[in-house]
């Protein structure tokens, strides 16, 4: 008993046209880890499903001559993990994406879906924020770009306009001496939702941080870029004073909730702990020690 139209267009243009034509009654399908579950629970009743897995641009990973990466929004975590280069350049982003769900889910779930779901606890997003990823979005009025941290606007809400589709991520070229890391806190060993997640990306020269970005997840209504934490790291040798100041900035940025997974006090403290630990891993990677 179905009256759902199932479309699997081969090009982005066709997908955008079909999505706009459905006037809000369509849902985008990539790996299906959100959509099929929501349909099963009766939370959504789409009139049209637009399967984007046949669109090359949305399912490809490319490394440009300048060293920047394109990651299509529908690329699964498993495919990204198999890329010969991506994990070497962006180990933190890859480990964040590979924390989403189980091995089975890894074969389905994508960073694009993780971002569009709009959860403040989405694991890939703080790492993408730390990486300085830039999004490409396509809609009836053409294409636009935005920094990933501007995309979520609240729990379950994004800045996609009507008819717009997230196409993919551009991760910037990586200067020598760069490294990133993502850590999250969960009570269970695996397959769990972050209580707090922190992504750190560093570029270092001669033991001194020359550039830094920090992304913070599950500690506010949206994933945050914590510029104050990055600021105190830049110019430092990651000495205790700088790390403590960055950790304090991370805690200060927290606007968490008390819920079943953790308290405000706990999340605020853990944000600081994870910042220090993630920065240490990123620094090791930046300096070729790990």
């Amino acid at each position: 008993m179905t009256d759902i139209r199932y479309l699997a267009p081969p090009t982005l243009d066709e997908a955008v046209r079909a999505f706009a034509a459905a006037q809000g009654a369509a849902r985008i399908l990539a790996g299906g880890t959100d959509l099929l579950v929501q349909m099963r629970n009766g939370m959504v009743h789409p009139g049209t499903i637009i399967d984007i897995k046949k669109i090359p641009e949305m399912t490809s990973i490319t490394e440009a001559a300048d060293g920047s990466f394109w990651v299509g929004a529908a690329v699964s975590g498993a495919v990204l993990a198999e890329h010969p280069r991506f994990g070497k350049v962006w180990p933190g982003v890859l480990e964040a994406i590979n924390l989403i769900g189980s091995t089975q889910v890894q074969g389905r779930a994508s960073a694009g879906g993780n971002l569009c779901h709009g959860s403040p606890a989405a694991d890939s997003v703080p790492a993408m924020v730390a990486a300085g990823a830039v999004l490409t979005i396509a809609g009836p009025n053409g294409r636009r770009t935005m920094p990933v941290e501007a995309f979520p606007v609240g729990p379950g809400r994004t800045s996609l306009a009507a008819g717009e589709i997230l196409v993919g991520f551009t991760l910037p070229a990586r200067p020598a001496g760069s490294g990133d890391a993502y850590l999250r806190m969960i009570p269970r060993t695996e397959m769990d939702i972050a209580v707090v997640g922190v992504g750190v990306s560093l570029t270092m020269a001669g033991g001194v941080v020359t550039a830094a970005r920090v992304g913070l997840g599950a500690a506010a209504p949206t994933v945050l870029l914590v510029a104050d934490a990055a600021k105190v790291l830049v110019g430092s040798k990651l000495d205790d004073a700088a790390l403590n100041a960055a950790a304090a900035a991370c805690s200060a940025a927290c606007k968490p909730i008390d819920d079943k997974r953790g308290t405000i006090v706990y999340r605020t403290k853990v944000a600081a702990v994870l910042l220090k630990r993630a920065a240490a891993i990123a620094a090791d990677r930046a300096q070729g020690r790990a």
Partner: protein
């Protein structure tokens, strides 16, 4: 039409492109070996291989499988390692109930294809997406690592570790669970449940719906069920008042598509929310049920000793625990069919005879007109003792004359099923200067939720057990089961004792420290021994193996204590805890009957009504019966649990099947042997053989002109408890002690378990392989209780918000079996199902205290609670 290469064969599937692959495989292709546990990618039961890679089939739209190779458990034997993997699972006891087994096997198949000789970490990573609630994962890891069956299994005498006799169908997808075998033309039943914890409701005209809406008015007989004969307080369909979120108010019945198409907003139900009673006995609270005006369902008490001896040290504390969900991976499922004036109900259950009684009353028909035919049961743990789908599908099939089936969704299972009682405990204990316990006082409120269920059982069992297996001269204990608008709390592996054991064991740690005694030696000093009298006045003459358990742990205790890290961010701790557990019902009749027949054609049949929910009773009872008869297990044909074909063996609960039904099986074996020997005029030591349909007694063929029968019954001798809790509540007790070694991250409050050593006095291990499986599985559930599991109505209604341990959460487990023979038990055996779980959580909390100095007052010990406790210390 979608084209698949399904288990090697080109297959066309005619289902909508967005159909979940799991549904397409099961409903369109008839491959029900792929199980559905959550429909959300959380449990991994539906894991299949898509072009060789493991995926949750519930997350793959059929269209995305177009042109690809799909391998399911039915195709496993044809894969390169498939048969070896199945054999390894079988011989290592890696499948208990079997519901997660297909998913585990498929995940392992992907791993082995790429990594033929994996290490343990690789196995854990590859299988981490499949949840198992029975095994504790260790046997599964072992099976994948060794991938061999080692030596051929022993013949199956008592004491032999034979693989489960019902094991093979669990490995090739042919086992039929509650959702697997309904007739194709069955109507679907979909319960309609209250979204509110407390609400009045009215149901208007439903004639516009494309399916029939059954309500209370449609119940032909009694609209009520409940565990106790005099408490039938839970309605099949509530009448105007919903008392918890998940209370069933009606059910849609019709063709599947029509039933599923009805949206919530289409239902003609109006709700008037009422303030829910969520805290136990708020002053002035209105009664949930007129019968219990103060909302106190039952109070259990024990008074022992007139005055307490002088004490040198006192310890006290309060502890709280939350709702814990059984989280069997098979949601409730089954179907019913009317045959004239008789109804047949199929599906998963732990208690077919109780189901029969409930269905008969709800339909208003005689007991003999109800036949319960249990399917394989994909985990129970107490949660499938209460009826769920049974009365509903029975009423629907009765009224429509069509077969009617129902399958609960995971969210519905979580919302509607019973839970472990949350407990709020206050306890005080004292000892003398030498560390001898002098007194123990315990009061607790157990939140029994909206309906009685097993609340009286819990309130009765806790006061008897709460001082633990120790010599305590003075005890005052009380436990109340308190009604609230929370989910009904029922039976869950331990009936309230695991919660109480936390308080008792934490107090012992405090007293041990106060007296300067080693924590393990404190327990040895105070442990019950043979010849002691319990606080109910019961003289324990035999089978008290606690001291042996503690002594077996002692070398591990010293080694683990010496190895632990005492400085730095990761701080090590080792904990110890003990338990005792009365086997069977508390001071109430608890009979079981087993039957063996030998037909003239030599066919030997074991009629066994004890439901095997994965724990292994089918195998263990057969071993006992065969041993008593004097023939090998392999000679037995099985007729298993069907109320029309087997005698009442009672329910699978209270760790009773090995002890009670085992004793009945032993008696049945002995009775049939007696019949045979009498006919052969042979002495008691005569040797029986059975081959080619001929029974031989001392090598002489014995011709039979009629079927011989041996029936055995057993009801353990008990004396009901009086108002002070004095009596003989149980015929025998299991005893155990466990160690837990772990590390605490002092900055994050996270716990990493390193090792658990478990010593269990089981009287006699009829089948050590299966006993170890029970211990490991019980420990995994104890880990969940201690560290992560907490059901919150409306907030944890899926398996990614309600967390149960994964393969990575269960550490190495070393099991030591102590056999202090119980003369009443079959060949000396007692029970193990619940004892396995009870000491784990207190041992873990003891270890956290050892590592950090902090005493946890609330479980689960989530990281934020651990940090708070460390800070407050």
């Amino acid at each position: 039409m979608t084209s698949l290469l399904l288990n090697g064969a080109a297959t066309q599937v005619a289902a909508a492109p967005e159909t979940r692959l799991s549904a397409a495989l099961r409903d369109e292709c008839g491959l029900t070996g792929t199980k559905v546990g959550c429909d959300a990618g959380d449990c991994g039961a539906c894991t299949v291989l898509l072009d060789g890679a493991q995926v949750c089939a519930c997350l793959v739209p059929l269209a995305q499988a177009e042109g690809r190779a799909v391998t399911t458990v039915e195709g496993l034997a044809a894969t390169p390692q498939g048969a070896a993997l199945q054999a390894a699972f079988h011989s290592h006891g890696a499948a208990q109930c079997g519901i997660c087994t297909p998913g585990m096997l498929m995940a392992a198949t992907e791993l082995l294809a790429a990594t033929p000789n994996p290490d343990e970490a690789q196995v854990q990573a590859a299988l981490g997406g499949v949840l198992c609630r029975c095994t504790g994962y260790r046997a599964i890891i072992k099976a994948v690592l060794t991938l061999s069956t080692a030596a051929p299994p022993p013949p199956g005498a008592v004491g032999d570790s034979i693989p489960r006799l019902d094991g093979l169908p669990k490995l090739d997808g042919s086992e039929r669970f509650g959702a697997d075998d309904a007739p194709a033309d069955a109507l679907w039943l979909r319960p309609i449940r209250s979204p509110h914890a407390h609400a009045r409701f009215s149901i208007g005209d439903a004639s516009h719906l494309p399916a029939r809406l059954l309500t209370a008015a449609d119940i032909p007989g009694r609209n009520g069920f409940g565990i106790y004969p005099d408490i039938k307080d839970q309605a099949v369909f509530a009448e105007g008042l919903a008392r918890y979120r998940g209370d069933c108010v009606a059910a849609l019945v019709g063709e599947r598509a029509a039933v599923e198409a009805v949206r919530w907003e289409d239902l003609p139900i109006t709700w008037q929310e009422l303030p829910p009673l969520t805290a136990a006995t708020a002053p002035g609270a209105a009664p949930l049920h007129p019968r219990w005006p103060d909302n106190i369902l039952t109070t259990g008490r024990l008074r022992s000793g007139e005055t307490a001896p002088p004490a040198a040290h006192t310890a006290q504390g309060q502890w709280t625990t939350g709702f814990v969900e059984h989280a069997y991976i098979e949601p409730e499922a089954g179907w019913a069919e009317r045959h004239g004036d008789t109804i047949h109900v199929h599906g998963c259950t732990q208690a077919p005879y109780m189901d029969r009684d409930e269905v008969a009353a709800v339909l208003g028909i005689p007991l003999d007109n109800v036949r319960i035919i249990p399917s394989a049961c994909g985990g129970g743990f107490g949660g499938k003792l209460d009826v769920s789908f049974q009365p509903m599908v029975a009423v629907a099939a009765w009224l429509t004359g069509r077969p009617v089936r129902a399958v609960w969704s995971r969210g519905e299972s979580l919302a509607s099923s019973t839970k472990r009682h949350p407990a709020s405990i206050h306890a005080t204990a004292a000892c003398d200067a030498a560390g001898r316990l002098t007194s123990f006082e315990f009061t607790a409120d157990y939140d029994t939720g909206a309906y009685a269920s097993w609340g009286p059982t819990v309130a009765g069992r806790v006061p008897v057990h709460c001082m633990g297996p120790y010599r305590v001269p003075y005890v005052r204990s009380q436990a109340r089961a308190v009604l609230t608008n929370n989910p009904p709390s029922g039976a869950f592996r331990g009936f309230g004792v695991p919660q109480a054991a936390i308080a008792q064991e934490m107090l012992w740690d405090q007293l041990a420290d106060a007296t300067g005694l080693d924590r393990l030696e404190f327990r040895v000093l105070n442990a019950l021994r043979e010849g002691d009298t319990t606080n109910t006045g019961q003289h324990l003459r035999h089978s008290v193996g606690l001291v042996e358990c503690l002594e077996a742990l002692r070398p591990h205790w010293h080694t683990l204590r010496a190895q632990r890290r005492t400085t730095g961010r990761l701080r090590g701790g080792v904990g110890v805890a003990c338990m005792w557990y009365g086997i069977g019902n508390t001071g109430m009749p608890n009979p079981s009957t087993m039957r063996l027949t030998l037909a003239p054609d030599g066919r030997l049949t074991f009629h066994n009504g004890a439901v095997d929910i994965g724990q292994g009773s089918t195998t263990v009872l057969a071993q006992i019966a065969a041993e008593a008869l004097g023939l090998p297990v392999s000679a037995l044909h099985m007729v298993l649990y069907d109320t029309a074909l087997t005698a009442d063996a009672g329910k699978t609960s209270a760790s009773r099947q090995t002890f009670v039904s085992g004793r009945a099986a032993q008696a049945a074996g002995a009775a049939l042997r007696g019949e045979i020997l009498r006919r052969a005029n042979a002495g008691p030591d005569a040797r029986l053989t059975l081959s080619d349909g001929t029974l031989r007694v001392n090598n002489e063929p014995l011709r039979l002109d009629t079927t011989l029968e041996g029936t055995g019954s057993y009801d353990p001798p008990t004396v009901p408890l009086d108002a002070d809790g004095q009596g003989i509540p149980y015929a025998t007790y299991g005893f155990a002690a466990q160690l837990a070694a772990l590390e605490v991250d002092l900055d994050l409050g996270t716990i990493h378990l390193q090792k658990i050593v478990a010593a269990h006095d089981v009287g006699r291990a009829i089948n050590p392989l299966l006993v170890r499986g029970q211990v490991e599985g019980g420990i995994a559930q104890g880990i969940g209780l201690a560290l992560m599991e907490e059901y919150l109505p409306g907030r944890t209604e899926n398996l990614h918000d309600y967390l149960i341990p994964t393969i990575g959460d269960v550490p190495d487990i070393e099991t030591i079996l102590i056999e202090a023979r119980e003369p009443l038990g079959p060949f000396g055996a007692k029970g193990i199902g619940e004892p396995a779980l009870v000491p784990t959580a207190p041992a873990i909390l003891s270890a956290i205290r050892d590592a950090t100095g902090a005493t946890l007052r609330r479980v689960p010990a989530l990281p934020h609670r651990v940090l708070e406790a460390i800070r407050g210390h």
